[in-house]
């Protein structure tokens, strides 16, 4: 309790907690859960976008998409590394994902059905992710905060790229414009769900706020996102699939309609369009390549033994 007070005092003073510092067990567990979920989301998130790498409509777009999906892998890797500073083992975290115990962002349970979806994911999904992540750059846990700074920088780049894809479609042929609108229709509500349940239903918020793992509530971030995004969509000439969307002169915010929380819960529970498919893809890659990991391990062991043997010979 005394240690805990000192810990809280450091956090209140906006000091960074580092791996070797004392921290409450629940703080550690909360962070491991959040960071690994974030890592899992990056890894699973490679699948829906990866679905279009081989079909990207120009070499420039192909290269950009490949680089983007690769960046996500990179984010996954350093987020796993950040979780490891808290004593978690990457292999255990991956096992939790494969067993279905650990969650990943539910947005990746939606399919990418047209090229416009690649634009939408950049513009909206990455946009929402950034909105969630910018405050995390000031997270009380040092390694996470530093990882987030790097992630956010790259995500902003992806977001601009995504918007640029949308712009090309909206300024393109009527078919391309329709493709963009149709994608927006499918993604808009699921993207709003990315900020999590409404504050009145959210459980983790209070402690997380106190520990400065979280700095804004779900609803605050969602509103910020909508306010930033709606004018961008209008600039593209797109219509949001929400008849209740109106600018409130009093609050200076965009009012919006009711989110379908049944869908939100259903998709998290496993019944989204692609939950089974994503898990199948993840397990297939894990299982089909087990022999590669085994080979790498066997080779590393052999090398070590040889080095030791050579060392013994030299010593004799």
């Amino acid at each position: 309790p005394e240690r805990e007070k000192r810990f809280q005092a450091r956090i209140d003073a906006e000091e960074r907690i580092e791996p070797n510092d004392w921290m409450p067990e629940q703080y550690r567990r909360t962070l491991i859960r959040q960071i690994s979920q974030h890592a899992h989301s990056e890894i699973v998130g490679m699948l829906p976008e990866g679905n279009w790498i081989t079909r990207a409509p120009s070499l420039k777009r192909k290269a950009a998409l490949l680089a983007k999906v690769q960046d996500e892998g990179g984010h996954g890797a350093y987020l796993y590394a950040a979780a490891e500073t808290l004593g978690a083992a990457r292999e255990d975290l991956e096992d939790e994902l494969l067993s279905g115990k650990a969650k990943y962002s539910s947005i990746f349970n939606y399919p990418t059905l047209s090229w416009a979806d690649i634009g939408i994911i950049g513009w909206l999904v990455d946009g929402a992710a950034i909105m969630n992540q910018i405050p995390l750059c000031r997270c009380s846990y040092g390694p996470y905060a530093r990882a987030m700074i790097r992630v956010c920088k790259e995500e902003s780049f992806h977001q601009r790229q995504g918007y640029e894809i949308m712009l090309a479609l909206c300024r393109g042929t009527p078919e391309q414009k329709a493709m963009a609108q149709e994608a927006l229709n499918r993604w808009w509500w699921p993207v709003l769900m990315m900020f999590g349940p409404s504050d009145k239903d959210s459980q983790h918020t209070e402690t997380a706020m106190r520990w400065k793992i979280k700095r804004f509530t779900n609803d605050e971030l969602r509103q910020k996102f909508i306010d930033a995004t709606v004018p961008q969509g209008h600039f593209l000439g797109l219509t949001f699939p929400d008849p209740a969307l109106t600018f409130n002169e009093t609050t200076q915010h965009w009012d919006f309609g009711e989110i379908d929380w049944t869908e939100f819960k259903r998709v998290i529970a496993g019944d989204g369009p692609c939950n089974r498919q994503r898990m199948k893809q993840m397990r297939a890659k894990h299982d089909n390549n087990a022999w590669v990991r085994a080979a790498a391990l066997a080779y590393a062991n052999k090398r070590q033994q040889r080095a030791e043997a050579a060392h013994r010979v030299a010593a004799e």
């Binding site: 990866g50 490949l66 085994a294 080779y299």
Partner: protein
Amino acid sequence: MATMTDAPLFQYTLRLADTALILGHRLSEWVGHSPVIEEDLAFGNMGLDLIGQARALYAYAGEVEGKGRDEDALAYLRDAGDYRNLLLVEQPNGDFANTMVRQFLYAAFAHPYFEALAASKDETLAAIAAKAAKEMAYHVRHAAEWTIRLGDGTDESHARAQDALEELWPYTGEIFEVDPIERALIDIGVAVDPAPLRALWNKTMDDVLGEATLVRPRDGYMQSGGRAGRHSEHLGHILSELQFLQRAYPGATW
């Protein structure tokens, strides 16, 4: 269909571009599906290098041709019979061993080849090659490391790597072929003669396969035809995916 009467420089550049694109495309198929995240990143890197090389080469080929075809017109609007890539690079990914061995076989050639091409009298090709040579150095290193790791790993990985080697070896002869189109360019110092590079390639093979405890296949009949547009059945399937949007929405800008 391209013939000998086409401008040799256009043909030559196109061959290099097609090989880079198709291999880049193949590697990109792995991204998100690799054995470990680090390999997703490596495939991403190598894929990006190759697609980057393809873009530069297509742009130059289009310029040389002078008919207004840009990189996308060349990549997306030619059917299989007009593609000029090496057969080796269009072979299916297969398992991780197959992909890595394919990469090793190609990169062990491409690295010294682009180093030599960096001295081309054609300044554009020289510049593209200088960049590509640096990139391919990493490909050789990475693919050789994995070839060794798999060859000298477990019994299973050894068997898979050896299988891959047997499977792909008949496509390595084409790498060193020179036809009159290329000979003409070699003679004027624009293209590179692959013959003198063979000894180095052989040495790289022997060194790496030796360390990997893999048996170098004997040089039997070598498959050929990519540079004349006679491919394997795999290329058409690559193109049906690669080109879908450009074909389905003709004239659109993306």
